[in-house]
């Protein structure tokens, strides 16, 4: 098992056996994901390295509960790659200044923490709110949401969506981590 204290300790200590196990188990999946999302092998290596560095720093700083190291690592890699792709689009328009690698990692560190807070609060909403927001984010047409939940009109569906989002925002803003992470 990879999610026990010994494994985490071995990771933080840079134990070669543990690092080899991480590479053997997880790198092929990250490589496959990045290549299938417009990346190259070199990108996969950089993303994987940076994700491990982010996790190392988070584990050193915060008491985070990682249930599955492999899954957590894969999620961080996916988010890092999404960010890299989004950055390419933004920098094309010269909206984002070039920054050092430390600042780049630090920015992602904060954004990843915000993403984790958001995911955690999303799960504490009612099942119906979670379903509605999921449909909204998957760009399901309002007409379908109206039909599924028997709302009187699209206006009612939009009101419902707004209420769910407001609840989520309220939950996020009430958490003490929000004050530390906000812009």
């Amino acid at each position: 098992m990879h999610d026990n204290n010994d494994f985490i300790k071995g990771f933080l200590d840079g134990n070669p056996k543990v690092l080899r196990a991480i590479y053997t188990r997880s790198f092929p999946f990250v490589l496959k994901y990045i290549i299938s999302h417009d990346g190259q092998k070199k990108d996969a290596e950089d993303i994987f390295q940076n994700a491990l560095l982010i996790i190392y720093t988070k584990l050193k700083q915060e008491k985070i509960n990682i249930q599955s190291f492999d899954n957590y690592l894969f999620t961080v890699c996916k988010n890092l790659w999404r960010r890299e792709n989004a950055k390419k689009r933004v920098t094309t328009n010269d909206l984002l200044p070039l920054v050092s690698e430390e600042l780049n990692l630090a920015a992602f560190y904060v954004e990843q923490s915000q993403w984790e807070l958001y995911q955690e609060k999303l799960k504490s909403l009612s099942v119906q709110c979670q379903e509605i927001l999921k449909m909204l984010f998957e760009k399901v047409p309002y007409a379908h949401i109206v039909k599924k939940y028997g709302y009187a009109s699209q206006t009612v569906a939009r009101q419902r969506v707004f209420k769910c989002k407001s609840r989520l925002i309220k939950l996020i803003q009430k958490d003490k981590r929000y004050q530390r992470l906000k812009e």
Binding site: E45, E102, A106, A107
Partner: protein, 268 residues
């Protein structure tokens, strides 16, 4: 400060584009004067960006970010980054060597397969190979697909049940579907797919599946050699079976190392 119902109602119409120009201007002034409204809109937009795969909510630089930047300049973090570089180098080198070995095996295997095919045409397969296949094709040893307490894996549980009922056409189709849907190259799914194909006598497909397993760099990759040997045994292809079994015995930690040694003795 929490927003009241009137502010929320205005926000809803503002964000849903339901305000006319005058109302929008007036509310914009209200937003400019209220930190609570600005924070609500900021978080609202951030949630949208998190959910848009083509987007990402970039931080614009706050105290937390500056604090985090210092973490990445700490001595231990820099030392860890250097350890990671070394681990990456070792892993990539090892992968290259493994790939090279497998490519050589594939060439030798292809030649052996051609010779064996010729022999197969001239001499029918010996009953010993069939017996060997029957003796070793015990699928009870396949790892279970059911993960305790994980209700999201229901399709894998169904696949395992279908496989146990020996409906191999259905289990092959289901494994293929699940592999397509997965972001991960699941070695257990590859095993179920390959064995189903083997049971259906789809030898080329089974060989391809086990090759994918061998090249997958997962902890179970070495099992691919053993199952490759079973394909050749069922085909009655002695030479290719020997080649595959030799790959099994090339590392004593490989799956079925001892069985492969005994079988090689018998086949030679």
């Amino acid at each position: 400060m929490e927003l009241d119902d009137i502010q929320l109602e205005k926000l809803e119409r503002f964000l849903n584009g339901q305000m006319d120009a005058a109302e929008k201007n007036a509310f914009q002034q209200e937003i400019d004067a209220s930190i609570a409204l600005q924070e609500f809109i900021g978080t609202y937009n951030q949630l949208d960006a998190f959910e848009d795969v083509d987007n990402w909510p970039f931080s614009r630089g706050n105290d937390r970010m500056k604090e985090a930047a210092r973490l990445f300049l700490k001595k231990d973090t820099i030392a860890f980054a250097s350890t990671l570089n070394e681990a990456n180098f070792q892993y990539q080198e090892h992968s290259k060597q493994t790939r090279g070995l497998w490519q050589r095996f594939a060439i030798v295997g292809s030649v052996a397969a051609c010779i064996a095919l010729l022999l197969y045409v001239i001499f029918p397969s010996t009953p010993d190979l069939n017996k060997m296949y029957v003796d070793h094709s015990s699928w009870e040893e396949l790892p279970s697909l059911a993960v305790k307490g994980d209700s999201t894996e229901i399709n894998k549980v169904i696949l395992e049940q279908v496989f146990q009922k020996e409906d191999y056409l259905e289990s092959a189709a289901m494994s293929e579907q699940l592999l397509e849907e997965s972001d991960f190259m699941d070695p257990t799914l590859l095993l179920y797919l390959g064995v189903s194909q083997l049971e259906l006598d789809q030898f080329d497909a089974a060989l391809q599946t086990f090759t994918t397993l061998i090249e997958s760099n997962t902890l179970d990759a070495h099992k691919g050699f053993w199952y490759t040997s079973l394909v050749y045994l069922k085909q009655g292809n002695t030479e290719a079976a020997i080649e595959a079994l030799e790959m099994v015995v090339s590392n004593k930690y490989n799956y079925k190392y001892s069985e492969a040694r005994k079988m090689l003795k018998a086949l030679r």
